[in-house]
Every structure is written in structure tokens, then in C-alpha cells.
Amino acid sequence: MILTKAQYEEIAQCLVSVPPTRQSLRKLKQRFPSQSQATLLSIFSQEYQKHIKRTHAKHHTSEAIESYYQRYLNGVVKNGAAPVLLDLANEVDYAPSLMARLILERFLQEHEETAPSKSVINSMLRDPSQIPDGVLANQVYQCIVNDCCYGPLVDCIKHAIGHEHEVLLRDLLLEKNLSFLDEDQLRAKGYDKTPDFILQVPVVMLCPLAVEGHIIHWIESKASFGDECSHHAYLHDQFWSYWNRFGPGLVIYWYGFIQELDCNRERGILLKACFPTNIVTLCHSLA
């Protein structure tokens, strides 16, 4: 789903200060019925993450944490079964999973002698049964299952999506008989930067606008929507690094991207929302 910048901005506009809940997502789907759900979810998630990055700091002041914790305590004293933590997160416009982490940290600080390590916290978030306080465990669990942008479950879903698309791409490459080296093989060889796939024999992708077509040496699969922010980060950390080492290549944003970002074609970074169909391979008879 390739969107123009204007289309993208229209969607992003609807996402300002929307809590990352099931319900919000449902509404979004109703608002933009023509867009694919995965694309909408991806955009939603990215927009929300941007929002959280911007406001993250203000939730992490000691005053803020203290006030949240007190509100939580007061809330559960009144009614432990009510969604205290979730409501609190939504009220202060913070991600429920992150709020859960914040309160859990604070709780453990109070109840354990030593400050809890990150791995302990992560483990408890993954499995709230480990949380010593039953009420807090329920509250945390509720936050996690109700958060559609953060939390261990969401992370796992994202990871799974990424993996699935890599597998999908691998199958397509095998189907097209294009031999490649994957990330693991590259790492084993000592490459310092590893795209998902390096084609052992480059191919040319033809497109109507470029007479010469575009050479592709490597392919990177991105199971997300390519918005400006993420694309620029990827360019800096990954795509240009690949170009620097392996020459021009292809990025597949399976959930689409902003059309205007596909401006480095001539330079050697090509964007697509699916596996290209018009590929020309090196003919052995010519070699």
C-alpha cells in the first residue's frame, strides 16, 4: 500500500492522542476502510511510538512516578478488580504497558531491598504470575493484553511478522531461483553489516521510468510501513551501510511506504511494497 504523503498525513492526523487500545484500532479501520488493516496498524503503532518518544521524559520524573504510584495504590485499595492501572495510563496519555513497567519498578523498589534488575522486570512483564502481588499481577497483565503498541506480546507479534516476511521473501527468492546469502551466513563470514539477503548474482529490476532498470545486490525486508521517521533511521543505520558495502539494493516495505520517500532510486536504494515481478537475471549465455 503505497501512500502519498498527503494520504499518509490524513491518517496520521486521526491518530493524535488516541490511546493504543483495541477500540481505537477498530475505529481507525472504520474511518479508512479502503486501507489494509496491517498498514493502518503499522502506521498507528509508529505514530504512537513517536508520540511516546516525545512525551516519555515527562512520565519519568520522580514526581510523576510518585504521583502515579499513589494513584495506583489508592485505586486498588478502593477496588482491586477495576482496571486502575489501565485507566491511569489512558488518562495521563501513556502506554499501558509502559505504565505497568513504571509502577512495577516502583513497587519492587518499595518491596525489595535492592533495585530490581532490568531482566527481572522484563521477566515479570512477560509472565505476570511472577509478580509477588496478586493484584498488581492482574493489573499489569490487563495493561499488557490491552496495549496494542507496546509490551512483550506486541514485541513478539512484531518480531513474528518480521520473521514471517523474511521467510516469505526467502521462498520467493528460491522460487525465482535467485541464489543468495542470508543474514546468518553473512554473519558467519564476518560481514560487519548484514542485510536480510545478498544476491550472489545481482539482478536488474525494470521499471517504466528508468530505461536502464535498477541493479539489485541486496534485499532488505521490512514488515512495517515506511514513514519518514523510520525510513530515515533505517537509511542511516542500515540501507546506506548496505549500499556502502554491497552497492545498490532493494527494500521491501511489506505494509507500504510514503511514495515520496522512494527518491534514492538513482542512487541505489529502491523501495517496493511487494516482491518485484519485473526482474531480469543475468543470462549465462551472455557471460
Partner: protein
Amino acid sequence: MAAVLESLLREEVSVAAVVRWIAHSTRGSEDNPGEAAALSSLRPLRKEFVPFLLNFLREQSSRVLPQGPPTPAKAPGASAALPGRPGGPSRGSRGARSQLFPPTEAASTAAEAPLARRGGRRRGPGPARERGGRGLEEGVSGENLPGAGGRRLRGSGSPSRPSLTLSDPPNLSNLEEFPPVGSVPPGPAGTKPSRRINPTPVSEERSLSKPKTCFTSPPISCVPSSQPSALDTSPWGLGLPPGCRSLQEEREMLRKERSKQLQQSPTPTCPTPELGSPLPSRAGSLTDEPADPARVSSRQRLELVALVYSSCIAENLVPNLFLELFFVFQLLTARRMVTAKDSDPELSPGVLDSLESPLFQSIHDCVFFAVQVLECHFQVLSNLDKGTLKLLAENERLLCFSPALQGRLRAAYEGSVAKVSLAMPPSAQAVSFQPETDNRANFSSDRAFHTFKKQRDVFYEVLREWEDHHEEPGWDFEKGLGSRIRAMMGQLSAACSHSHFVRLFQKQLLQMCQSPGGAGGTVLGEAPDVLSMLGADKLGRLWRLQERLMAPQSSGGPCPPPTFPGCQGFFRDFILSASSFQFNQHLMDSLSLKIRELNGLALPQHEPSDEDGESDVDWQGERRQFAVVLLSLRLLAKFLGFVAFLPYRGPEPPPTGELQDSILALRSQVPPVLDVRTLLQRGLQARRAVLTVPWLVEFLSFADHVVPLLDYYRDIFILLLRLHRSLVLSQESEGKMCFLNKLLLLAVLGWLFQIPTVPEDLFFLEEGPSDAFEVDTVAPEHGLDAAPVVDQQLLYTCCPYIGELRKLLALWVSGSSGRSGGFMRKITPTTTTGLGAQPSQTSQGLQARLAQAFFHNQPPSLRRTVEFVAERIGSNCVKHIKATLVADLVRQAESLLQEQLVTQGEEGGDPAQLLEILCSQLCPHGAQALALGREFCQRKSPGAVQALLPEETPAAVLSSAENIAVGLATEKACAWLSANITALIRREVKAAVSRTLRAQGPEPAARGERRGCSRACEHHAPLPSHLISEIKDVLSLAVGPRDPDEGVSPEHLEQLLGQLGQTLRCRQFLCPPAEQHLAKCSVELASLLVADQIPILGPPAQYRLERGQARRLLHMLLSLWKEDFQGPVPLQLLLSPRNVGLLADTRPREWDLLLFLLRELVEKGLMGRMEIEACLGSLHQAQWPGDFAEELATLSNLFLAEPPLPEPQLRACELVQPNRGTVLAQS
């Protein structure tokens, strides 16, 4: 000087004698006595004749060319006689060229300002990028700045000239502005062209040490001025140095002579029709004067001068062949004469044959002269590119004046295949990452490795930014990128990192800046670019089209200063901005090494014997290889020169006097960065000048002023001068240098002699004649010089300024005076990387000698094939050993390690110790490597040689070639293996050990045996991510909060579990973390089912799941856990306080499902009875409401009371019968 010309014109001496006289001072005796006598008196002037002649011609043409196309540097022979040079900045900066402008300009400061600016600009390193403001840059070629004034003019300055001239045409008829020469005879002098003639004084006293008349500009150590700068305002008077008086006397003498002559042979006056034509106005309104052979004013005189001039060119007595051709082309294409009839009393009959009368009195004269000269140089012309030939052949003046020459040119054009394209294919490519040199093993530490990783990215980021912005006005390299570059360089702490970075830098330089060699820019040692293979034809056409669309780049006239065009500018600026001495040193080391390597590369030598079509194919490749090597060398040498002389260059004028002596004393101690003298000597001896000289010229072009004064470099210059003189184009013979090779050398040397730092007097030094040079060289039979390695493409690529000739002709056709619009320069892409390594020279002894002998009489391609095969097979052999023997040993190591781990328990002991044990067991097996390697080479080499050699290779030759290939390959492989096999095994085993130990570690689940999908699986199962997401939705609905209308249907739940089964059975898309989460979610789902917490959506508002449905779902889950999950399922979570606590909220509490589930778990072997007991036990410790704790205790007891192994039939019954759990719940 003038006297020589005079006597020539009077036919007292023959042209041949004059040329002999100039070329060989000692051979006067060969001439006829009369001539010898006439010339011998002038002997001291011999050296000065050529500069005089050139200056004379430039002077004479000055009326024709001001508003024409760019003129080449006028030879300011007498600029030594203009001592007012340091007079003022603006004057100085104009250099000698300023003499071509009327004095008005000098008098008016307003007019001077733009000139001065132009002067400064044009002396920049190139038209492509003129940022100015960088001191170093000015130092490179900006010697003409104040103080160093009066230097020869740089050719690059010319292009801007016409516009100014046009907008400000000199009023030649104004006697006040151009007053007649002082007091000397009235009349004639006043008609002199607007600028001062640079008279060459006849003076016996002049010696080498004095300022000399030079072709271009005075020597560095010119006499300091004692004259005021005011001389400009009065060119004929005050400005003349003391020597001028004798000059005036000489003129006087000549005049007398002439008047005598006049009485003997009066010449008819030739009216000059153009005299009345209006002064040229602004560009565009120019009308070309037609040239008519019938109206040439004095043919004989012109013919004579043309002949002398041509002979000087042919004998290489002029410093720059192409500059002279450019001048001649200018004459040919001169549009109109700038003159004023009224003020030209010289045009009276009788003075026409004298030097005092203008040589070119009309366009007809100019064209006639030009055609005369061109006729003498047909051979050079016919070797120009096809485009130039076409323009020449189509030139109507040429047709008109010499139909014969035109015919020959047309024939040459039709037969020419010398299409030259200088268009650059678009877009840069990065140096590819090569694990052999770039992976971690090549770095001293992880930190160095990762630092370099980042640096590579920063380097390209900087490069891309430069690509994007460098053409934008106002963008500044230093401002934009300087600090980033320095920050990056600052991180290169380790010396090893520097060498890595330099390697990257150098490779990128070669990739980007090498002009396209041959058709597709294909480069040695690399497979041709895919694109060019796929659509070479289409692409070629595209590039040609692009080339046509782009205005021709002005390369800065026929003698541009050394520049860094295009992306070379990036590398130059990078070096400057980095300003890191470590970097520079490493770079010089690396460049020197690469230059030595390439310079010594055994390039194929042409076999004169095989002239058939096949060898042509070979020869194409060899010529391209030569071009690639040569262009690489030139590029590397240019940068080496730039970096090496960087510390010595500056904007300040060259030192003089004592200061210079002390600098010389100091500098002569410094060893050269690369022993270029030896390389040159060897190159000349081995007849490889065609390879060595062009890069040496690039290197020397960046030398500072002191360099040519150093003995070491002076030797080099003398060698080069001798070489230049020896390259007489007309002398062609078997075994000597090829014509185009000579032409290339003449072009590059001619260019070098124009570099400001090269003193002009150097060229006219009275060094030994050219044959002295010939004697030195003990040449091998067929050196590279004798091979036709240079073609027009290479010639024009190396010397783009030759293309100025074509532009001149094109301009004539287009009729416009100067094209506007910038040339869009693109980055040169190539696929270049390392050029083939030198063939192995290790073989020794008799066999090696025999092999050498064997190759001697075989075509060179055979040798290359064999060496290539040996090199590749040897290398593959090592890889083969790695993949077989070493891999086997690694597998052994892994199994040994497993045993070790089993016997020593989980920990397995110290990894280092383990490694030692393993290595001591395995390394001895490495000895097999040599035998295996030999076997491999034996097996593989012959086939490869067979495949690569032509079919008709005789059997004996083939088998010898095979044997040599086997031997060389074996030698290479075994040498490597015997030195490295143990280390290799160690390294691989070490990697395997750490891999195994790591795998032992955190994720045992990941290691567990995994089943793939069944063979029939088509991978259509729902994706794991989708299922996690779906289950998460159900969980969130169950946990709440939820809207009143939210819920799930039992069918949906069933479907979901069905899908989960499918997904788990198709492993295609499943990764371990996803499976773990699915397992956890399924357990959570089961707990919610047991606690009846799932909000059900159904037609009757029934919010609880039916018992039977719930059980069915639980059964599905149990089956999934049992059959389909391959990773561990956290079933104990079913009994976690949190999940059991869910039951506490339900009213009435129903324990039957939990009990059912627990039983099934035990029955299916999913959980042990003991395990469940333990979980139930720990549940009691939690705090529960009183009644709940009781019920829990009852459940525990009930479960514990069960018979340990119930019969299967009973289980089946339980599904339909109300079970005890229900009873319990209802009680």
C-alpha cells in the same frame, strides 16, 4: 632573431638549414657554406629563435584573434623585458596574457577589476569547482598572484576572454591610446597592433643566467623590476628594458636592408577589403569574413614562415605540439580582422616582405598560413578523433584553400574508427565489502573493527552529501563536511585502522575517478558490469545521447592547469579537510605501493607476427587493460604528487636568492616519496615510456617551485626533455614507438612544460641533442612503446585538452562565440577494484627457466591463461581444503567436545583448556592438507587450461601448459597450506567450540530437535503473528475492560484453536519466540476457559460458555500441547495463583473444568502428578478468601485421591457423565 627570419624571408638561407641550425647547433658544417656563414654569426641566438618565432606569430595574429575563440597562451617572449611585473597586484595577476589587451584597460582601474578577478579565478584548480579561499589551492596553480606576476598565462584563462574583448573592443585607430613607437622612424610603428610586441632584443651578452626570452613567460628568477608600473600606459617607451635600445637599433638596421631590397623587387600591394568593415560589436552580430585564396597577400612569405614553423613543430622544437595546432586552428577559423585602415600606413607597397609589415594582413592570409601548416601535419590530424576529422573535412575554408588536404582528411575521416566519448556513465558505486580483508580477523580488536565499520559509513555519508551539494552555489566543502571528516579521522587511532581506511579511500578513488576505459568502463580483474552486459548497446546509446545533451565541458583551453575534475575534487578536498599527517603518510605509502605495482605490471607486448583477426580480439582486451592500468596510474600519481608536495606549496611567491639556496640545501636532503627517477630510467630502458611517462607527468604537475631546481628532479626533467625531442612523429620504423604512443607522450609532456612551476627556460636548455637520448637506451626487442597500446579514446581521456581543437572547429560551425550553460558533470562509476596481482614469480630453477622459455615463443595470452588458472586453482585449492579436510576436523572437534561435555558434566570445564585439548588432537591431521592439495590441483588445473585455450593449441603445448599450471597452482597452494594450515584449523575449531558452548547456554529449547512441516505442507496455515494477535484480542476481551456488546463466539474460539493447530503443524513461518508466546497465550486461554471468564457472544444473550463447549475447547488445547507444540509449554501457569485466582471471581465457583484439566494433563503425560501436587501445595501459601481456600483444599484432596493411572475407557465416559468436579462445585 628577427634577422634570422629576415634572411629566411629573403631566401638567403633555406628552411632546412634553419631548422637544422636550431635543432643541432654543432652541425652547422653540413649546411652549405653560405648559409652556414649567414647563420653562424647568429649562433648565440640559436636557442632564442623558436621562442621568437612563436611570439612573432602570436603577435602577428593578434589582430585576427581578439574577438575570436579562446586563444592559447601567447608566448610572451619579451615579458622578461617587462620588468614592471611586481608593480601592482592587479597587473601581476593578469599574467602575460594581459599584454594582449590594449593599454586603456590597464589605465582604467575599473576595467582592471574584472580582469584581476578573472585572473584569480581561472588560475584555480579547475573550472568545475572554484571555491576559492583555500590557500593551498591557490598554491597549486595560483602562482600568478601578486608578486609572482608576469608568469605565463594559463590556458584556462582564455575562455573568459572573448566576452570582455567584445564588450570593450580596442580602438586601434586611436593614436593617443596606441601611440607610435617612440622616436623611432615615423609611421610604421604606429600601425602596430594594439598590444606591445614583445621584442626579442638581439644581444650578445645574454647568457643562461640572465632572464631569457621564453616561449611563454619569463623564468622564475627574472630580474626584479626597476621600472615603474606605469610602463603599461606607454608600451613603446618607458616600458622597454635597457636591452630595447639594441632592439631599436636592430630595427633600424633591418629597415635599411629593406629599403635596399624594395628597390630590387617591388611587390604588388594587396588591397585589404576588410579594412573598412565596422568594428566588431557585441557577440552575436559578428559576421564571418569569407576567406578567398585568391586574395592572399604574400604567399611566398607566408609559405616560408609556415614551413619554418611546421618544421619546428615536426622536430619537437616547440614545447607543446597541441598548443601550436590550436593556434593554427584559430587562424583557420578566425572570423574577421580587427584593424583600421587609416592608421595603417605600413601597408604601403614595398614593405610587405619585411618583418615590419604584418604577416597576416587579412583573413585570407591567416587561413592560407593555417592551411599551409596543416598540410605539413596531416599525419597528426589524421590521428585525431573522428569528430574532429569530420569538422575539419567539412570546413569550407580548408576545402577552398587546399582541396587536396580536404580530400585526404575526408578519406581519413571515412576510414577512421576513432570515436571518442568522454561522457561519464552516471552514479557512483561503493567499494564492496570483502570478508577476506574486511572482517573482524583483519583488525586488532573488536573496537577497531567496529570503529572502522562506522567510519566506512561516515565516509560514504560524506561522499553522498558532497555529491548532492557540491554543485550548489555557496556550498563549501570545509564548512559542510570538514568537522565531520576530522572527527572521523580522529577516531582512527590505531595504525592498522589508518591502513584500512586508506585502502578504502584509494579503492574508492580508483572506482570513481577512473575515466571510462573502453566501452563500458569495465575494469581488469572484475566481471563486466551486469548492466553493460545486459544492454550494452542500449546503454551506450543512452550515454552518447546524454553526452550530446550536455554542453561540452570547458576543460580550460588547450593548456589547463592541473585540476581535480569531477569527483576527484572530493578526494582532494577530503585530504585537505582531514589535514591528518598520519592519513597523508599512510596514503602516500599506499599510493606509492600501488604505483610501483601497476608500473611493474607485466603488460602484454604486441606480437608483430600474429596479425590475424583472432589476435585482434585479444588485442582489444590488452589495449583496454593497458588503458585501465595507465589511467589508474595517472590518477594515483596525481594524488601522490598532490599529497607529497602539499607541505611545500603555498600562495607565496617562489623563494629567490639566499633563501632559495638554503631551501634547496634542505630539500635536497629529503628522499623522494617515490623513486621516480629510477622508475623513469627503467621505464625508458625497458621501452615502457608510454606507461611510465604519463603518470610521471601527473606526479610532477603538482611539484612546487623548488622541485625542478633539485638535482634529483632536474635529472628527471632533462630525461623528459630528451625524450620529447626524440619523439619525432615523422620517424616511424619497426620496433620504434608507435605513432599514437608518441602523440600521447608529446601531449602530456607539452602540457607539463606549461605548468607554472616548471621553469620555461628548462625547455630551451641547451642540452644534448635528441640522439644522445637514443644512445642511452639499450632497448629490448619489443618494448611496450612499440605496441599500439594507445588509441584515440585513451589519448583524449588522458589529454582532454586536445578536444579543444574540436571545440574550436565546432564553434566555427555553430557561428556563436562561446557556449553558455554549465557542463553537468556526473560521477564516474566503475567496477574497478584491485588490478590483477602480478603473476607469481616464485618458481625457480631449471623448470622455471624451461617454463619461461616455453612461454617465450607462445602467444602472450597462453601465459596469462596458465598463470590465471594457476592462481585461481591454487586459491580454490585452499578453499577446498577448508571445506573438506578442515570442515571434517571441525565436525570431529564438535563431537569430541560433546563427549567432553557429557563426561565433565554441564560446565564442561574451561573453554581455553578444551580448545587446547582439541587442537592437540586435531592439528596433526593438517599434514594431510598438502597431499590433498596436490591432488586437487592435479585434478582441476588441466581442465581449466583446456577450456581456456583455443581448440587448435597443439597437444604438446597444451599438455605443457597444463603441467605448468598444475605446478604453479600446487606451489601456490602448498606454500600457503604449509604455512597456515595449523592456524586455520585452530581458528575454525576455536569458532566451533565457542559456537557449541554458546549453544549449550541460554536457550536449550532452541537447540531441541525440531520437526519441519510435513512434505505435503503447502504453507497455507495462518501466520503465527496473526494468531498471537487474535489470541491477544480474546485475552484482552476476557480480562477487560470491554464494551457491553463485545465478546467472542464459541465458533470463533474453536476456529482459532483449529488455526493454531494448523500453524503449529506448518513450521514454515514459526520462529521460537512466536511459539513460546503462542504456548503461553494458549495456557492463559485455558485458564480463562476453566474460570469461565471468556465473554461469549451469542444469539441468545448467553454470556457463559456451555460446559460441553468448554471441555471441547480444552480438549483441543490439550491435544495441541501434546501433539503440536515443539517447544516447552508453561503448563504450570495453569496453577499459578493469578490464574487460579480467576476462579475466585466466578459465582458460583465451578471447579469441575480445572479438575478435568488436571487429570487430562496427567493422563496425557503433559504434567507429572508430583509436579501438580507441588503446584497445588504452593497455591495454599497464597492468601485467599476463607471459603476459596477451603474449596481449593478440597480440590487438592480430590485430585490426590484419584487413582494414579485411570483406564482409558473411563476417561471417555467422563466427557459425557457429570463428573465429580461438578458435584463438588454444586455442593
